[in-house]
């Protein structure tokens, strides 16, 4: 898994171009915002972790069970 992720990372970084600030209009659009740790995102991660055990990288960091 580590080797595959490393290969993907190298391919991704090798392919990136220099994007000037005035070329980022589409990237700064609201629909391109990354998922910040907002309340809805944290609820989503909590339900995934507790109900189906889906804990992937950058996922929930919560504690407690709440898992009856």
């Amino acid at each position: 898994m580590t080797r595959a992720m490393g290969t993907l990372l190298l391919l991704g970084l090798a392919g990136c171009a220099t994007v000037r600030p005035w070329q980022r209009e589409r990237l700064t659009a609201r629909c391109m915002a990354t998922d910040e740790p907002t309340s809805p995102a944290m609820y989503d991660a909590h339900v995934r972790a507790v109900r189906i055990g889906d804990v992937v990288a950058a996922g929930a960091g919560g504690g407690g069970c709440g898992c009856n």
Partner: protein, 356 residues
């Protein structure tokens, strides 16, 4: 003036950093969530969350929420004696902008219910490159849990969890952003359920699982602007642990802004896993490790959701208000779990955020 070393560090971080970042705004969010499934489990989750800037460099945040759990699932209902349980979850933290490209943060968390206590701390560092096309996020977490059995934590057992995570977000071109994330978890201590018993040859035995679990996971996510007001995202995740459990997950999503004040977000997530090496649907004889935890068995899950957000004033002005709703349907297919072959749940959320 003589200052102790740690005070020099504090002065350096708070008072003598690099260029100032843009002034953050205070915000308060009220959020309510509900989960209800055909396994007689219903969870209401109201919460409140606030972030307040203290000067230009420091932002403090806090949250409080509860999970009100009604009834109990089919695998533990025979031994669970209460029909309602409340979990209180409190967090508090601070973020310090060292300069306009670097942020460090610390936060603490306390989770309490009648038979489960959890306290944890998280340290984070975020660093952007000079061109602002790459962000590195590093996170270290530690958690100490105290688990029943018994509704008043008599004869409690401990569980310690350590996590190290990192992600790299990279602008690929004018339309595309890529993110890689890796995470390693070490769980040591009591990880079974005090209420879950395993039938072996007509008799019931307590659940037994290994006390050490080491887990690694990674994910890759790509987000691309299709039009000025439409974007697409796709994510793949893989995780595996020392118990032999391997899980694959994927998510696709579409965001659409029909107006500068509105946004639709449609997502679909799938997950598939094999079972832990010691998991059996039925145990013919007593084994060292045995479990009836369906989350350790082979399963597939499918979770489509749709949400709508209303922001005012409209983009590109910074919003003062946001109101959002989200609904979803979570389907689980349990491949080797006789009491319940599938589980269907409805999920719903509503939230209001006010910026000042």
């Amino acid at each position: 003036m003589q200052l102790k070393p740690w005070r020099w560090v504090l002065v350096g971080v708070v008072g003598c950093g690099g260029p100032l970042p843009p002034r953050p705004r205070a915000e308060v969010t009220l959020h309510g969530g509900h989960y209800g499934d055909n396994d007689h489990v219903s969870v209401w989750s109201p919460s409140v969350r606030a972030r307040v800037p203290v000067g230009r460099r420091v932002t403090v945040s806090a949250s409080y929420g509860v999970d009100i759990v009604s009834a109990a699932s089919v695998d533990i209902v025979a031994s669970a004696s209460r029909m309602n349980e409340v979990r209180h979850d409190t967090t508090a933290g601070a973020q310090v902008a060292v300069d306009d490209r670097t942020t460090v943060g610390v936060s603490g968390r306390d989770s309490r219910e009648s038979d489960y206590l959890s306290d944890g701390v998280t340290l984070t560092v975020d660093r952007e490159n000079a061109a602002r096309t790459r962000t590195l996020h590093v996170e270290a977490r530690g958690r100490w849990d105290r688990v029943g059995p018994g509704w008043v934590l008599q004869d409690r057992a401990d569980l310690g969890v350590g996590t190290l995570a990192a992600s790299l977000t990279q602008v690929l071109d004018r339309l595309t952003v890529l993110r890689f994330a890796l995470q390693a978890d070490v769980l040591s201590g009591y990880q079974a359920s005090a209420y879950r018993y395993v039938p072996v040859g007509g008799q019931w035995f307590t659940e037994q699982v290994p006390e050490l679990r080491v887990r690694g996971s990674g994910s890759a996510r790509i987000q691309r602007s299709l039009r000025r007001n439409v974007s697409l995202l796709a994510e793949y995740g893989l995780s595996g642990d020392s118990w032999g459990l391997v899980a694959h997950s994927g998510e696709v999503g579409l965001r659409w802004e029909p107006a500068p004040w509105a946004m639709f977000d449609v997502r679909a997530r799938v997950m598939a896993q094999n079972g832990a090496s010691f998991y059996q649907g039925t145990y013919a004889s007593l084994t060292e490790y045995r479990t009836r935890d369906r989350m350790l068995g082979p399963m597939e899950a499918f979770w489509p959701t749709a949400s709508f957000r209303f922001d005012w004033p409209a983009w590109p002005a910074p919003p003062s208000w946001e109101v959002g709703v989200r609904g979803g349907w979570l389907h689980q297919q349990l491949e080797d779990y006789a009491p319940l072959r599938s589980r269907d749940a409805g999920t719903g959320e509503v939230w209001v955020t006010r910026w000042f």
